[in-house]
Symmetry: C2
Amino acid sequence: MIRSTSQRIAHTLAALDRERTCWISVGRKDGSSHLIPVSFCWDGVQLVVATRRQSVTAEAARRTGRVRVSLPSTDDVVIIDATATIVTLEQIDVATHLFYRQVTGRDPARETDPFVYVVLSPVRILAWRDDRERARREIMRESEWITDDDA
Amino acid sequence: MIRSTSQRIAHTLAALDRERTCWISVGRKDGSSHLIPVSFCWDGVQLVVATRRQSVTAEAARRTGRVRVSLPSTDDVVIIDATATIVTLEQIDVATHLFYRQVTGRDPARETDPFVYVVLSPVRILAWRDDRERARREIMRESEWITDDDA
C-alpha cells in the first residue's frame, strides 16, 4: 500500500518521538563525509543532539551550518536535511537540557570532554518504505510540510 | 560484556553477510554531505552497491574516491570507511553482477536510468555496541584487520 503524504508525515512524527538515536552525516574539509550515530530528542519541531565541542560533527556544523540525518531503518526510511546551530551548555535553555537528559539518558554536562548541543531545524524531509513511495518521497520542502494537495 | 577485537571482527563479518542494505554517505561539492540507503552484497572482501550513473553518490565516488558506509543498527554499530571505484555494467565481471542480483534481488541492467556499480574496499572499520567498546572501536586500520594483540 502506498501511503499518502499526510500518512507518511504522521508516521515520521511518530518515529521521531519513538527513536532515540539517529545517524548524522556532515561534510569534511577534505571533501569526504563523516557519519556517526548520536542520541537525540525531538520536541515536535527540532532535533537536539549533543557532541564533543571538537568533534568532526560539531566542527562541520559550525563551518557549514548543515547536516543530513536519518533514522536507523533502511526499510522505513526517514531522511532529514537540517540547519544546524551550535548551542553551548551555558546557552541552552534549561527545559531543552532537561528534556534531552530525560529522553536520551545522557547528560552532556557530565562528560569528560567538553560537549555542546547541536540544534537541528528540518528544512527537507524524505520518507519512504518502497520504490513506489520513493518516487514521491518528499514530505517537507523549504521547512514546510507538504499537503496531500501539493504532492 | 566487552567483546574482544576478534569477536567484534567475527560479528561484523556475520552482519555484512546478513544485512542487505547499508547507509552510504559522501561529501557534496558544496561542502555538505549526502546520505542514502543502498542495497549491497558483500563477498568477504568488498561491498558492491549500484546507483544511477548521475546520482550524487556516483558523482562523489568518481570525484573523491571515498565513501563512508554504515549498517543500519545504531545499537550494534558497524561503520566502514572505504575507497570507491566506479565500474560500469559493461566492465563488471559476470560473477559479481550475478551475485549482486541474487543477494539484493535487484538488477541494475533493468533499471530505467543508466546505473553503475560502485565497488567499495574497506580501509577502516569501527564496531561497537556500547560506550565501553566505543573507546576501542577500530577493528580494521589501513585495510588490515586488527589482532587482539594490536588492540
